[in-house]
Amino acid sequence: MNELYAWAAVLLITVAASTGDVLLSYSMKRVGHVGEIWETHGLLAVAKRILSTPTFFLGVGAMAVAFYSLLFGLSWGNLSLVVPASASLTFVANAIAARFFLHEHVDRRRWIAAILVAGGVILMAL
């Protein structure tokens, strides 16, 4: 039964985390190169630009859901199952989401990586 709960947590983490990742990546691309802004305008300017990006907070909210799902998952399942399974599934979901929502160029190299990681996840679950 704990095993089932752990996998339910993994699914919840995956959906919430990939939603959060896409929103955060979108937000940070809008903010711009953090290192350059820090050097030219200071750390306060970086914080101001991030905090004035509404999608950043939506992303953080989705990540908070993923984080509490992770806490549940870790209390039910093994660390070496829950963390890699959810994080790697998130990676595959992100490859698809980044292609469609962020318009990133997900080339053959990145798809091969997605398949390798997905295969790795299945093996780790056996």
């Binding site: 704990n2 990742d21 896409v22 955060l24 990546s25 940070m28 691309k29 903010v31 711009g32 190169h33 953090v34 290192g35 991030i50 990540m63 984080f67 509490y68 992770l70 806490l71 549940f72 870790l74 209390s75 039910w76 093994n78 660390l79 070496s80 963390v83 890699p84 994080a87 790697s88 998130t90 990676f91 992100n94 490859a95 980044a98 292609r99 962020l102 318009h103 990133e104 160029h105 997900v106 080339d107 190299r109 990145r110 091969i112 990586a113 997605a114 398949i115 390798l116 990681v117 295969g119 790795g120 996840v121 299945i122 093996l123 780790m124 056996l126």
Partner: protein
């Protein structure tokens, strides 16, 4: 890719690995929680291991946001997914969780996937309305 950018990627890996391990350690001390035990879940942050784990995950978050400001999501995630391997190794050596041969093979596949992405460019759509294509390929070569 500059040395500082590699440092940020390394920070993501190390902070998330140690942070997750501390969280797991703390949650194991607390024991299994049920879905309706919301106070128990909120009070979990008072456990020292969980609290320290959260601090490290905040450091991870700052590094992660920094990386996402100059690299693709589909680059940052796999380039730092070597942390899954570190998590499994910590689970094995520190918490003595059993890792089967198939699970080791899974770890190997994930590592190989990381290698594929890390060898490629970090940014495929770098604000193309602002930056000329020549500047983009230079960035990819660095």
């Amino acid at each position: 890719m500059t040395f500082r950018k590699y440092l940020v990627l390394a920070g993501i890996t190390v902070f998330s690995t140690i942070g997750d391990s501390l969280l797991a350690h703390g949650m194991k001390q607390i024991g299994a929680l049920s879905l309706d035990d919301v106070p128990g879940l909120l009070l979990a942050v008072l456990n020292p291991s969980v609290a320290l784990g959260i601090l490290l995950l905040l450091a991870f978050f700052a590094s992660y946001m920094s990386a996402l400001s100059w690299a693709d999501l589909t680059y940052v995630l796999p380039a730092t997914s070597i942390s899954y391997v570190l998590v499994a190794l910590i689970a094995y050596f520190r918490f003595h969780e059993a890792i089967s041969p198939l699970r080791w093979l899974g770890i190997a596949l994930i590592t190989a996937g990381v290698g594929f992405v890390a060898a490629g460019p970090s940014l495929t759509r770098p604000h193309e309305h602002k930056v000329p294509a020549s500047a983009v390929s230079q960035e990819a070569d660095q």
